[in-house]
Structure formats: structure tokens, C-alpha cells
Amino acid sequence: MATIASTEANETSGRARSRGLRSPLRAISYLQATPLLLILGFFFILPILTILVVSFWDYDFAGLYPDFLTMNYTDTLGSRVTWKTYLNTLKFTAMTWALTLVIGFWVAYFLAFHIRTTTMQMVLFLVCTVPFLTSNIIRMISWIPVLGRNGLVNSTLTELGIIPQPIEWLLYSDFAVVLALVHLNTLFMVTPIFNTLMRIDRALIEAARDCGASGWQVLWNVVLPLAKPGMAIGSIFVVTLVMADFSTVQVMSGGQSASVALMMKNQMSLLQYPAAAANAVVLLIVVLLMVAAILRVVDIRKEL
């Protein structure tokens, strides 16, 4: 009886899913997925393939010439500048990643475990979120009056007599770049970690306590392992965004520091598209390898 009822239910739902039409169940799914496929196909897949092709082309100041040269790659990979730039970009990425991970985890942990009402949680979460929906460039610029030679930090410190003269390296330095990158990207860590922490069964923590675990032991052996997927997703965001950053590095270092994307941007402004394309392919491979490494930790499809 039960089996008959459930087969019937399956049949009805199957029929209705195909919107009352007798067409196969999946046809409607294809139709619904088509706009996404078309948009991503034309504006994402095609451009990537084009870059791959163009990276082997020849060029001069007048235009691009179809060819099959490995010159663009040997040029970029054979240059010391490229390697130094990659090293510099990796340095920024590593520092930003470590800082956003630590800050993001504690902020998310505080929101998830120490705020008692859902309303308050949502309000505080929104307080963290809102700045991230405003302009990145404005948020970069906003450091100028704070960190500048006569900015807030310097004038306060000199007035208090802590330092004899303004610190020069606050703005337009690697310090400023990392500070701004952390400022711009921490939410990408907070959100996924908060999301995973909220889904931890509180009974697990009670159980650990009952078994005699101290606060740190609960954190280290229960909460942290369960937060890993969120940390992985956050890391993917932060790593890919920072690896490809050019504006923060340019604005906050005052043009004194370089990143891979900034190098590409300069090549583009000189219309050296094939050279930029070769760089793009190398950068893409590096970024995808980093993502693949992070994905070994977590299956994101399960986490949504």
C-alpha cells in the first residue's frame, strides 16, 4: 500500500515538474538553464578561449597578427621582473589571507556563539556587510586622511609626543596595501565562516563540555574542524581577489609596488594584448592551482 502511494506521488510530481506538459522531465530544466549558459558562454568561456589563442599571436604597435609563437610566454617567463612581481603578489596574498582568516574567524565566532538573539545576530552581521556593498575605490581613498603624512594617526601620535615626527611609511607603502586589502576583503571570510558556524549542532559542544573539555579544547577540537569548509570558501574568495588585484596595489602603494594584474594592465594600456594574454594564462593557471589546492579540503556543492 505504502509503495503504491509513493509511486503515485512520484508520478504526479514528475508530471507536474514538467509543467503539465507531457514532454520529458528534463526539457524544462534545459530551457531554464539556457540563459545562464548563453551569457556565460559568450562573456566568460569565449573570452578565456580567445585569450588562450591570442597569447600565441604576434603583434606590433599597429595590430595583432594570427600566428603560433611561444615568444609571449618565453618573454614573460624569462624575465626577472615577472618573477619578482609574482613573488610580490604572493607576498600580498599570503599576508592578506592570514589576516583575513584570523580576523574573519573571530568576528564570525563572536557573532555565532556569543550573540544570543537571532535579530541581534542579523543586525550585527548587516553592520559588517553594508560597507562591502559600497565602492571599493572610495573605501581605499578613505585611508588617505587617516594614514597620510598629516593624517589622523600621525597627528595624534605626534601631539601625544609618542613619535617626534610623522611616520612616512603609513600611506603609499606595502603596509598600506595590505591594510587596504584586509579592509576590502574580510567580509568574504566572515560570511562563509559565520554560515558554517551557525550550522554546528550546539549539542556537540554540550557533549564535549560534558566529557570534560575546556573552552580551548572545544574550540580547537570541535568548532575549528567543523568551520573548515567555511574557511576554505572564504580563502578561495580572498586568494583569487588578491592575486588579481591591481587597483589597491596601485592606489595604496602610490605606484611604488607591483602586482601581476598591474603588470597586465600596463601591457594592455600599451596595446600589447598578446603579451598581456600570455600573462593572463599564466596567472589563471596559478590561481586555479591555488583554488584546486583549497578545494581538496572541501566540496563546496555540499556546503550551500
Binding site: L40, T50, P145, H183, L304
Partner: protein, 273 residues
């Protein structure tokens, strides 16, 4: 954990959180204050009198590029992206409720669109349009470039929403004789409406602030973020802050309006159910 008295850990973390919020909002509020700088004031504190001088300056056409026109372009583009984002993400979300051939590939393609560096997509679309002899413009190539950034967010949100969506409601509607369209229109749509507004908000604000993907794809006319980006290198007066204040207040208004609508929808749902 929730039932105990608040210990030292709470206060330490609360202080940390407060510092984080100060870190987020402190610099922004400095910009806000300095945009009211007097006519003789500079880019840093102290305030040299209080005036609306730099706001007037902003709206004089010759002073700083063409702020009004670039704002209109960014606003229109944001609306276009918002509408397409909601529709396409909703359809894709519905499609992903069932496994179909290539659904995993399409899903990973969507995620990849988020992960691939913006500047690479920007360069790629620029070269594609050039090679096909198409005209680069903010409403064609720029529009597409923005969608590659906003759609993954939209699709992932819808994916998460439908993962938690119980089919029981639809089955109940069907048992009561509703057609597929009626089920969607009167049962599914009202339930996911708040999320759709979220998707729309993301679409608009991400597009309105986007510039890495617009860099090579906007054609002749700049969008607002590109205009501001250009200004960072050559404008050395507080008019930059005035512009920052205006765009930030605009973003805040949009966000608050969307949140208000979401709240109202939630309330109405709570009342009817």
C-alpha cells in the same frame, strides 16, 4: 554555551568586534566629515571651516570630469544588471533543482566565473569584441562583463535557497488542484521573494561599484567607478571626498530600501501564515 553567564571570553571578543567595526567605518566617516571641508581646506584634517563648497564644485560640469553623465550610465547599467540577474538566476535556480545532463559542468562554470580574475575576463571580452569588429560600450560589453561577476552570486544564492526549499508546499498546492504556473506564482514566488530582492540588491550594488571588469569593456564612456578611479591620480582637492560621500550615501539608501522591502515581505508572510 548560550545559557551561561558571560565570561571573560565574551568581553575580549566584543572588544575585538568593536575594533573591527571601527576599522570598517572609521575611514569612511573621515571621508564623510572631510567632504564638508571649507573652500581653503585640504585633503586631511583639521577642518578649515565647514561648507558645502566641494559639493557645489562636484556638480559644476567642468570641475571634475562629467560626474552626472557617468553616474547616469552606472545607474542604468546597475538596473539592467539587476533585472537580468534576478531573472536568469531564478531560472537557473529552478533548473538546478533537478539533475540534468551537464548540470554539474554548468554549476562549476558558474563558480569558475567568480574565481577567474576580473582583469582576465575584462581583457578577454575586450579582445573578443575587437576581433569580431563589435563596438565596445558600457551597455553591451560592459553589461556582459558585469553579469559574469553578479550572476554567480545570484545563482549561488538561489541554489542555497532551493536546497532548503521543501517540495511539500508545491505538492500541497498541486493536490489542491493548482496548475504548475499557479503553484509557482502563488506558492513558490512569494516564499522566495525576499531572496530574489537580495539577488537584485547584489546585482545592482556589485555592478554599480564594479570597475576591474569594466576597465577594458566600457568603450568610450566611463562608468562612475572608472571616473573615480581616474580621479584618484589627478584630483587633489576634497571634491574627491564629496563624490565619495554622495556615492556612498546613494549605496546606503539602496541597501536600506532593499532591506526594508525584505522586512515588509517577511512580516506579511508571517501574518498570512
Amino acid at each position: 554555551m548560550n545559557h551561561e553567564r558571560r565570561g571573560k571570553e565574551f568581553y575580549v571578543l566584543a572588544a575585538f568586534f568593536a575594533l573591527f567595526v571601527l576599522f570598517l567605518y572609521g575611514p569612511l566617516s573621515a571621508v564623510l566629515m572631510l567632504s564638508f571641508q571649507g573652500p581653503d581646506g585640504g585633503l586631511t584634517f583639521p577642518l578649515n571651516g565647514v561648507s558645502l563648497h566641494w559639493f557645489y564644485n562636484l556638480f559644476e560640469k567642468q570641475a571634475v570630469g562629467d560626474f552626472g553623465a557617468s553616474f547616469r550610465r552606472s545607474f542604468t547599467l546597475g538596473l539592467m544588471v539587476m533585472v537580468v540577474n534576478v531573472i536568469v538566476a531564478l531560472l537557473a535556480g529552478l533548473a538546478f533543482r533537478h539533475r540534468f545532463r551537464g548540470s554539474t559542468a554548468l554549476f562549476y562554470m558558474t563558480v569558475a566565473s567568480l574565481v577567474v580574475p576580473s582583469i582576465i575576463i575584462s581583457l578577454g571580452i575586450g579582445v573578443v569584441f575587437q576581433q569580431f569588429g563589435l563596438k565596445l560600450a558600457w551597455y553591451s560589453s560592459g553589461f556582459g562583463a558585469h553579469l559574469t561577476w553578479t550572476l554567480p552570486f545570484g545563482v549561488l544564492i538561489m541554489f542555497a535557497v532551493f536546497n532548503r526549499f521543501s517540495p511539500a508546499y508545491e505538492e500541497a498546492a498541486r493536490d489542491l488542484g493548482a496548475t504548475a504556473w499557479q503553484t509557482f506564482r502563488h506558492v513558490v514566488l512569494p516564499m522566495i521573494a525576499p531572496s530574489l530582492i537580495g539577488v537584485g540588491l547584489f546585482g545592482f550594488t556589485l555592478s554599480y561599484d564594479e570597475f576591474a571588469r569594466t576597465l577594458m569593456t566600457s568603450g568610450t564612456y566611463n562608468t562612475l567607478p572608472l571616473e573615480i578611479y581616474g580621479m584618484t591620480t589627478n584630483v587633489t582637492t576634497p571634491v574627491l571626498y564629496a563624490l565619495g560621500t554622495v556615492t556612498t550615501l546613494f549605496s546606503f539608501t539602496i541597501i536600506l530600501a532593499a532591506l526594508a522591502v525584505i522586512l515588509v515581505l517577511r512580516r506579511r508572510q508571517a501574518r498570512t501564515s
